[in-house]
């Protein structure tokens, strides 16, 4: 009987731990695949007046950022350009166009890769 109670307690505890572990409070995961030809950094997912998620590290051309959770499913991308550090334009953000449009929607619980394909000429 004691064994049964002990095993039951362990099972309940294990169920509780696994039940909470997957929910990080975000609605979806996104990452950026930078094929723009330029290195970028401080990539932000912004929505409705707030910065929802930020990838601060440099994201070199042809590199992929880690996945991060976002709360707002519809938003826009903004970033800074590493090249600007040497051209005197550093400190001004860029818009990230996703599939030709500024606004983009991600499905709930999706993991989506947004491929940055081009940096427009200055």
């Amino acid at each position: 009987m004691k064994k049964f109670i002990l095993i039951s307690m362990i099972a309940i505890a294990a169920f509780g731990v696994t039940g909470c572990g997957e929910d990080d409070g975000t609605s979806a995961d996104i990452r950026w695949d930078n094929n723009s030809g330029d290195d970028i950094y401080e990539v932000k997912w912004v929505a409705s007046g707030k910065v929802d998620q930020t990838w601060s590290a440099d994201l070199a051309n042809t590199s992929v950022s880690p996945y991060k959770g976002i709360s707002e499913l519809t938003g826009q991308g903004e970033c800074l350009n590493v090249t600007d550090r040497g051209t005197g334009a550093e400190g001004t953000p860029y818009d990230v166009y996703i599939d030709g449009a500024l606004n983009h929607s991600v499905d709930n619980n999706d993991s989506e890769t947004l491929n940055i394909s081009q940096v427009q000429a200055k």
Binding site: S36, G49, R85, T87, A89, I98, A121, K122
Partner: protein
């Protein structure tokens, strides 16, 4: 040999056909018409007006202008003593709605526009009813320019005003002796002793939580116009990074 040469020529021609439209499409460079640079927001020229059509602004943690939807003059106008902006605010997104005309914008390095003064007009549901004269600059100058949250905003003076939404108003900032004076529709609203010797620098127009439509901007030294834009042409330079969706990696997030 000849056959290989033809094959290579074909490859070059194919590459040119593929590459050429990409580069022509990407010719988003400053031109002779460029008078402004977009910093943040969705600005476009519509019916001879510069319109910011997003209303909300997601703040960047650097300088004050990046907390608003902002366009900044591409170059600093030469010496001036009068800035006149005709603009209307509309489609309030939330309170406080903010409209700001900044000047004496300078950067110590690159485009880090930390130093600025501004008349900021704020309001709520019914309209905009307060104007504040502010100064913003870098807080700790020993830190690198890209250090986050390293700026301050100091409110120097404030006054009541009455600015209705959906109506074009004329905002004039005049430098009278040592004072910076804001007039709205010709009425003196706020006069402040300008704390620095020079008000030279770039000029910016910003908004937050409300859309704005700018009809014209004129900058004068006495009677001589040193900068003007009636937005009859696309004079806003916008830099972009373009992206598309990669279809190969769209997996379901683990439940």
């Amino acid at each position: 040999m000849l056959f290989k040469g033809i094959i290579n020529l074909k490859k070059y021609l194919l590459a040119l056909i593929v590459i050429f439209p990409v580069f022509t499409y990407a010719s988003d460079t400053p031109t002779e018409k460029t008078k402004w640079q977009k910093l943040l927001g969705q600005w476009s020229i519509v019916n001879s007006q510069a319109v910011e059509n997003r209303a909300w602004a997601a703040p960047w943690e650097y300088y004050e202008l990046l907390k608003y939807n902002t366009i900044i003059t591409y170059k600093a106008p030469s010496d001036f003593n009068n800035i006149t902006v005709k603009a209307s605010t509309f489609d309030r997104f939330k309170t406080p709605s903010e409209f700001m005309i900044s000047f004496a914008i300078t950067s110590e390095r690159a485009s880090w526009f930390y130093h600025m003064y501004a008349f900021k007009i704020t309001g709520g549901f019914w309209g905009m009813d307060k104007v504040t004269f502010i100064k913003s600059d870098r807080l700790d100058k020993s830190k690198p320019f890209n250090a986050k949250n390293n700026s301050f905003v100091k409110e120097i003076a404030s006054a009541d005003c009455s600015v209705k939404y959906d109506k074009t108003h004329e905002y004039s900032i005049k430098f009278e002796g040592h004072d910076a004076v804001l007039y709205i529709n010709g009425k003196k609203i706020l006069s402040v002793r300008f704390p620095e010797k020079s008000h030279k620098g770039r000029i910016a127009i910003s908004s937050k939580n409300v859309k704005v439509s700018v009809d014209s901007v004129e900058v004068k030294k006495n009677k001589k116009t040193v900068f003007e834009d009636d937005f009859n042409e696309d004079s806003i330079y916008m830099r972009r990074v373009k992206a598309r969706i990669s279809g190969a990696n769209n997996d379901k997030k683990p439940e």
